[in-house]
C-alpha cells in the first residue's frame, strides 16, 4: 500500500466571477521513503495540491471532489481537530520562504519545543534537549547557544535549516516541501537540498517536492509529475521523464534548463505563457503553445496514457500519429483511475 494516495482530486476556488478550478482531476501516489517531484510553472496547481494534502487550503478554496488517503485512511474529509493531529506528526510541511515561516517574536527553541510538546508527552526539559539535538542534526553550529536565539539572528539558509528541523521534529512519514529553496541564494540551495535528501533517507521519510526547478528535481526526486494548468501532463520515473520526455510541455521545460557542455546551444523557451484559470482552452490546455498541436488537441482533452515507462496526457501518442495506438487503447479501457496509481511504479 502506498503511503499517500491522491485520487481524482479537484480543488476549486469560488470567486465573485465564477468558480476557478485550480487542481483538476489529479491522481498520484507516493510510496514510503520515496521522493516525488512536482514541477510546473507558477499557477499550475502544484502548491495547491500540497496545501490540499495537509488540509490547509486557504478559504474559499476547497476540495470539491476526489479522495486523499494517508496509509489507507481517508484524510481529506477529517474534522479540523483530527486533521490537526496529523499535521506535523504524520505529514510535515516546509514552505517557500524561510524568512517568513518562523514567528519573529519567539526564539527558535520555543518554536521547536512547542511543536514537540504538541505531538508528544515529553517534558519541557526533554523537549528542549530534543530541540538541541534536532538543530545539531540539521547542521546548525553551537546549537546550545543558538536554541535561545530569535529567527532574525539566523541567515536565510540557517533559517531554512530550522524550518526543516521543525518539519522533521516528530518524525513524520511524509513531508510536503513547497519550493523549499526558491527564496534562497543559489549557493545555499544545493546545501539545503542535500540536507533534506540526506535527512529523509536517514529517517525513511517520503517527500513531495514541489518546485519549478527541473534541476532540483533531477538531483533529488525518484519520480516526477509535470503539472500544467491544474492537470498532470506527464508522470513517471525521473530518469525516464528527463531523458525521454514525451509531452511537448516537458520537452519545453527540459529545454529551459541551462546545461554545461552545450554552451553553444541557445536556451530553448516555451512561447507564450500558461493560460489563466479563468480561460483554459478547450481540448489540451497546452495546445496554443504546443508546436505539434493538431485539430484533435484543440477539441478533445487527452487523458494520461502509459507510454513506455511513464504516463503522458498527449494525443501525439494516440490515434493515427500515435506510436502505441493499440496498447494504449487497451490499457485505458481496462484500468482507468486505479491503473494510474499502480502503473506509475514501473
Amino acid at each position: 500500500m502506498p503511503l499517500l494516495e491522491v485520487e481524482n482530486l479537484v480543488v476549486e476556488f469560488p470567486t465573485r466571477r465564477g468558480t476557478l478550478t485550480a487542481v483538476n482531476d489529479i491522481s498520484l501516489h507516493i510510496d514510503e521513503g520515496e521522493v516525488l517531484g512536482v514541477v510546473g510553472e507558477s499557477g499550475a496547481g502544484k502548491s495547491m495540491t500540497g496545501a490540499a494534502i495537509i488540509g490547509l487550503l486557504e478559504p474559499p478554496g476547497r476540495v470539491a471532489s476526489g479522495r486523499i488517503l494517508l496509509e489507507g485512511e481517508r484524510i481529506d474529509n477529517l474534522p479540523y481537530e483530527k486533521m490537526r493531529r496529523i499535521r506535523g506528526k504524520r505529514i510535515g510541511a516546509i514552505f517557500q520562504d524561510p524568512l517568513t515561516s518562523l514567528n519573529p517574536l519567539y526564539s527558535v527553541g520555543r518554536q521547536l519545543v512547542e511543536t514537540i510538546q504538541t505531538h508528544t508527552d515529553l517534558s519541557p526539559t526533554q523537549a528542549r534537549a530534543r530541540a538541541i539535538e534536532l538543530l545539531t542534526e540539521v547542521g546548525i553550529p553551537a546549537p546550545e547557544r543558538r536554541v535561545d536565539q530569535y529567527p532574525h539572528q539566523f541567515s536565510g539558509g540557517m533559517r531554512q535549516r530550522v524550518v526543516i528541523a521543525l518539519a522533521l521534529c516528530v518524525n513524520p512519514r511524509l513531508i510536503i516541501a513547497d519550493e523549499p529553496t526558491t527564496a534562497l541564494d543559489v549557493s545555499i540551495q544545493a546545501q539545503i537540498i542535500a540536507l533534506l535528501k540526506r535527512l529523509c533517507r536517514e529517517h525513511g521519510t517520503a517527500v513531495m517536492l514541489v518546485t519549478h526547478d527541473m534541476g532540483v528535481i533531477a538531483e533529488t526526486a525518484d519520480r516526477v509529475a509535470v503539472m500544467y494548468a491544474g492537470r498532470i501532463a506527464e508522470i513517471g520515473p525521473v530518469r525516464e521523464v528527463i531523458k525521454n520526455a514525451k509531452h511537448p510541455y516537458t520537452h519545453g521545460l527540459m529545454g529551459s534548463i541551462p546545461s554545461i557542455g552545450h554552451d553553444s546551444e541557445r536556451l530553448e523557451q516555451i512561447p507564450g505563457s500558461m493560460p489563466r484559470l479563468t480561460d483554459i482552452p478547450t481540448g489540451c490546455a497546452f495546445n496554443p503553445r504546443c508546436p505539434h498541436a493538431f485539430d484533435k488537441c484543440r477539441t478533445v482533452r487527452p487523458d494520461l496514457l502509459p507510454i513506455e515507462d511513464s504516463w503522458t496526457a498527449c494525443w501525439l501518442y494516440d490515434g493515427e500519429e500515435g506510436r502505441n495506438k493499440e496498447a494504449s487503447k487497451k490499457l485505458v479501457a481496462e484500468t482507468k483511475a486505479d491503473a494510474v496509481l499502480e502503473g506509475n511504479n514501473g
Partner: protein, 329 residues
C-alpha cells in the same frame, strides 16, 4: 538600545521645544499681556514700567528662553481671568482628569482587545458583523451626543446615575480621589463610557484588522502546518504579533483621551483640566491655554517613551541590533 532611547529622547525634546514655541508665541502675541493685567485707569507710563519689569521689551529669544526656564520649573504665569497662578489651578484639577482618563482607558482596552480578537478570528460570524456595524455607529456618534444620550436614559429616565460632578471625594495628600467611594465610582461610570467608547471602537477595529493581517502570514500558516492547536496559533502566535501596532495606537490614544476629556468634562460638568481649558478658550485666557498645551504635549511625550520601551519587551528584533530599530519610529 541606549542609543535608540537617547534618539527618542532628543526627538521628544524637539517636540516639546516646538510646542513651547507655539505656546509662547500665543502667550506673547495674542492680545497684550499688559492690557490683561492692569485696569483701564493705568497710565501709559505705568504700563511701560510694568512692561519693562515683566521683561516684555527684551529680545524675543531672551523672553522665550525665560519662558522655557519657567515652564520647566512648573511656572506658567497668572491666569488673566482668575488672577491665580496657572500651575496651581492645573494641579488642583489634574486628579479629576487623570482618574477619568485612566478609567476610560482601562475600560476601552479591557473590552476593545477581546472584541477585536473575536471579530478577527470569526471574520464572517454574525456577532462579528454586529460588532463591526455597531462600532461604525460608535465612531459616527459625536462624543458629546453619547454623553447626552447616556444622561437622558440613565439620569433623566431611569434616575440611576448622577449626571454631573465627581460624587464623594477623599483627600490623599494633594490628590482628591473619587476612586475610593461608591458615590465616586457611580459618578465615573457615564463619563468614562462616554470618553472611552470612541477609543474602544478604534481599538477593536484595529485589533481586528491586525489579526486578519497576521492570520494571513506565512508563519501562521506554518504554525498550523506544524499541527499546533488553534489556541496556540491564535493566542500564542497571532495575538502577540498584533501587539506592536496595537501598543502604538493605544499609546497615542491614551494621550488623546486626556485631551478628548475636554468634551466629556463639559457634558458632565466634571471639574477637570479640560473644563478649565474650555473656559479659557471662551474667555481667551491665554496663559491657561498655553500651559494646557504644554502639559498635554508633556503627557504625550512621556506616553510615547513608554510605548517605545514596551516595544523592547514585545519585539526581540529591537533588543539586539539597535541599528535596525530606527524602522520603528
Amino acid at each position: 538600545m541606549v542609543a535608540f532611547i537617547l534618539r527618542r529622547l532628543i526627538q521628544s525634546l524637539f517636540v516639546m521645544f516646538f510646542v513651547a514655541l507655539v505656546s509662547f508665541s500665543m502667550f506673547r502675541f495674542v492680545g497684550d499681556p499688559v492690557n490683561q493685567m492692569v485696569g483701564i485707569e493705568t497710565s501709559i507710563a505705568e504700563r511701560e514700567a510694568l512692561r519693562e519689569r515683566l521683561g516684555l521689551n527684551d529680545p524675543f529669544m531672551v523672553q522665550f528662553g525665560r519662558y522655557i526656564g519657567k515652564a520647566a520649573t512648573g511656572e506658567f504665569g497668572i491666569s488673566y481671568q482668575h488672577k491665580r497662578p496657572v500651575a496651581e489651578m492645573l494641579v488642583e484639577r489634574m486628579p479629576a482628569t487623570l482618574e477619568l482618563a485612566l478609567v476610560s482607558a482601562v475600560f476601552s482596552l479591557l473590552l476593545g482587545v477581546p472584541m477585536g480578537v473575536y471579530a478577527g478570528l470569526n471574520r464572517d460570524g454574525f456577532i462579528s458583523k454586529v460588532l463591526l456595524s455597531v462600532s461604525l455607529v460608535g465612531i459616527s456618534l459625536p462624543t458629546f451626543l453619547i454623553g447626552i444620550l447616556l444622561i437622558f436614559f440613565f439620569s433623566v429616565q431611569l434616575n440611576l446615575l448622577p449626571s454631573f460632578g465627581r460624587g464623594g471625594l477623599i483627600d490623599i495628600g494633594l490628590w482628591k480621589t473619587g476612586l475610593l467611594t461608591i458615590d465616586g465610582w457611580k459618578s465615573l461610570i457615564m463619563p468614562s463610557i462616554t470618553l472611552g467608547l470612541f477609543q474602544l471602537t478604534l481599538i477593536m477595529r484595529l485589533v481586528r484588522s491586525e489579526m486578519l493581517e497576521v492570520l494571513r502570514t506565512d508563519y501562521i500558516k506554518f504554525a498550523r502546518a506544524r499541527g499546533l492547536t488553534n489556541r496556540a496559533v491564535h493566542f500564542g502566535h497571532a495575538l502577540k504579533n498584533t501587539l506592536v501596532p496595537v501598543i502604538t495606537i493605544t499609546g497615542l490614544q491614551l494621550g488623546s483621551i486626556i485631551a478628548f476629556a475636554i468634551i466629556t468634562e463639559t457634558v458632565f460638568q466634571w471639574p477637570g483640566m479640560g473644563q478649565m481649558f474650555l473656559q479659557a478658550v471662551t474667555t481667551v485666557d491665554i496663559p491657561i491655554m498655553a500651559a494646557y498645551l504644554m502639559l498635554i504635549a508633556f503627557f504625550f511625550v512621556v506616553i510615547n517613551l513608554i510605548v517605545d520601551l514596551l516595544y523592547y519587551v514585545v519585539d526581540p528584533r529591537l533588543r539586539v541590533d539597535t541599528g535596525k530599530a530606527s524602522g520603528h519610529g
